[in-house]
């Protein structure tokens, strides 16, 4: 676990917090979506790190190999990546339609236009 081990998780937490902060703080809807993507990507990294052991081999049977990395987390995160792509696509489509009908994608302006938001 020395060397790379703990650094992975430091980076993951840094990315996670950066993403969440972007979602909360930025007023531009596209920036919000980018923040959401950074946040999700940090979770993908987390899953990928979970599955790997230092010195572990890929999950193909070989007599010389004693240590295997776990491929299941990688498979799981493939599903989550697809979900992330779909969410981003829907989010961007919504942003386009918001731009068309409000003329802006700045949340502050949207608030002013419709007080009930």
């Amino acid at each position: 676990m020395s060397g790379l081990g703990i650094w992975n998780y430091v980076i993951i937490i840094f990315l996670m917090m950066t993403g969440l902060y972007m979602v909360i703080s930025s007023s531009n809807l596209v920036k919000k979506l980018i923040g959401l993507n950074v946040f999700q990507t940090s979770v993908f990294f987390m899953y990928i790190s979970f599955g790997y052991i230092t010195g572990g081999s890929g999950p193909l049977y070989n007599e010389n190999v004693v240590l295997y990395a776990n491929p299941l987390t990688h498979v799981l995160i493939l599903t989550a990546i697809v979900v992330g792509v779909a969410t981003t696509a829907v989010g961007l489509a919504l942003t386009i339609r918001i731009k068309e009908s409000f003329g802006t994608i700045e949340e502050d302006d949207l608030h002013k236009m419709d007080s009930s938001l």
Binding site: L29, F39, G91, L94, T95, R97, I98, L110, L117
Partner: protein, 492 residues
């Protein structure tokens, strides 16, 4: 076929959705989705009967046994929920035709019905599956369908409502994903029953505790527990009427079921309420939520928005029942989960009928409704009485059980909070009834809503009264479900 019931409930809408998306016109997509949702309801009812005979129905996907493959595990709690989801979908689909033609437009209706089918598929999938990661997948399917459905609302604010729900919903879903990852690292399994077996041995590790916190927070975002409910009022107010009816009746209920499943089956009551301060966190939030949301709903000029805030309050009651951590509290929570689905479904559909004839759901549109649209008006009155918790309606049954559960624990302040919440409901339902009964109609020539809207509404209103008088079926199932859940996931 009977053997495959657990998967058929989910599979039928999944297979039908792309077909519906390819059909043309307004009638075919509607007809096909209605038939499919009726078929799903039939499967769910047969499944409930099967569960009543066997106690537990296990379906292994593709014949792969549980730790390797995904299994569907149906017990009393999710069999009841599946009947609620498919039942509401079966009532909303026939209702949707006229309402959607007016609010969404005929040219968009194939996509609309496909998304509606995907929503009900995602919700039933979450309810049926016994695999923690599979829950995430279905959660995202239903969420993505919900975002598109909300955005189809007439008002342009539907778009911003959908966007903010997308952001909050994704954060909630990702929190859940983080939690599942942490549990997988500690146990090496994603199967809920397996997780329940392996977790007690390592329950004092900080990773498991962190995973628990992430899962509970993520799900609470999805079920709109105060103060994580901010997405809900706008999403319910601006989405098309048929969507609001289905969402308000089922979507948050499924998230509540997932919370129950994790708190009781996967982690077990000893961990959730003993090692973790779940009750101490949830009870204040639930009580503040039910009192504040009820108060806020009194002042709302838009009745749809008023009912949305009332939904937040009702979720407070359900979470309160869960947080008690007793069999009686859990029975009350499950009962209210089912019953609130029936009443909110009916009420939102009534508002849809008002919007169909009057063009809006503001209090001014409800003026003099008793004369112009008497059947719609009386449906609203009965649904409202049920929301308040008047005897002979379902609302009374679940609130009665909740109060009994609080009395059993000796929590008198909670009993008072529940009663005050009901009083507030009298006020906010009362002002609509007053406007409808004594108000002057803006346009006395408006006629009653068409039969295809009224029949589904009255089917649900009848269910509200029927399950309020004949409580044997729902109470028995809820009690059996609570007993199963309290015993934990070790029952194989």
């Amino acid at each position: 076929m009977l053997m495959h019931l657990p998967v058929l409930v989910v599979l039928a809408p999944l297979l039908a959705a792309p077909v519906v998306a390819l059909t043309r016109g307004a009638i075919w997509p509607w007809l096909l989705s209605t038939l499919v949702s009726w078929f799903s309801l039939l499967c769910a009812v047969l499944l409930l009967i099967q569960v009543q005979q066997q106690g537990l129905v296990i379906y292994t996907m593709g014949g792969w046994e549980a730790p390797w493959g995904i299994e569907y595990r149906i017990d009393f709690a999710n069999a009841l929920l599946l009947v609620l989801i498919t039942g509401l979908a079966s009532v909303v689909m026939p209702y949707a035709r006229l309402s959607v033609e007016q609010e969404v437009g005929a040219e968009r209706s194939p996509m609309f019905y496909a998304a509606l089918l995907l929503l009900s598929l995602g919700l039933s999938g979450m309810a049926a599956t016994g695999d923690a990661f599979n829950v995430f997948v279905f959660l995202e399917i239903s969420s993505l369908a919900t975002y598109t459905l909300i955005a189809m609302g007439r008002d342009r604010r539907a778009l911003t409502a959908s966007f903010s729900y997308l952001v909050m919903g994704t954060i909630g879903g990702t929190f859940y994903l983080i939690g599942i990852g942490l549990l997988y690292v500690m146990t090496g399994t994603l199967n809920m029953a397996d997780l329940a077996e392996r977790l007690p041995a390592i329950s004092d590790s900080s990773t498991v505790r962190t995973g628990f916190a992430f899962i509970v927070t993520g799900i609470c975002l999805k079920l709109a527990l105060f103060p994580l409910h901010l997405w809900l009022p706008n999403a319910y107010t601006y989405s098309p009427s048929a969507v609001t009816a289905l969402l308000g009746a089922t979507a948050t209920k499924v998230a509540i079921y997932i919370l129950i499943r994790f708190v009781f089956t996967v982690f077990g009551p000893e961990f959730s309420f003993g090692a973790e301060p779940l009750a101490e966190v949830l009870i204040p939030l639930a009580v503040i939520g039910l009192l504040s949301a009820s108060t806020v709903s009194i002042g709302q000029p838009n009745i749809k928005r008023m009912l949305a805030y009332s939904s937040v309050a009702q979720i407070g009651y359900i979470v309160l029942g869960i947080a008690m951590g007793t069999a009686m509290g859990l029975t009350a929570a499950l009962l209210h989960m089912f019953n609130h689905g029936l009443m909110k479904g009916a009420l939102f559909m009534t508002l849809g009928a008002v919007a169909y004839r009057m063009g809006g759901t503001n209090l001014s549109d409800m003026q003099g409704l008793a004369k112009t649209m008497p059947l719609t008006f009386w449906a609203f009155v009965i649904g409202g009485l049920s929301l308040i918790g008047v005897p002979l309606t379902v609302g009374f049954v679940s609130k009665w059980h909740l109060i009994l559960a609080a009395v059993e624990l000796g929590w008198w302040p909670i009993v008072i909070a529940i009663l005050v919440g009901s009083m507030l409901a009298v006020v906010y339902v009362g002002r609509v009834v007053e406007a409808g009964f004594f108000g002057e109609a803006k346009d006395p020539t408006r006629r009653e809503a068409p039969a295809s809207l009224l029949i589904p509404i009255w089917v649900l209103i009848f269910a509200n009264i029927y399950f309020g008088i004949d409580t044997r079926l729902t109470v028995d199932i809820a009690e059996a479900a609570a007993a199963q859940l309290m015993a934990g996931g070790s029952v194989r």
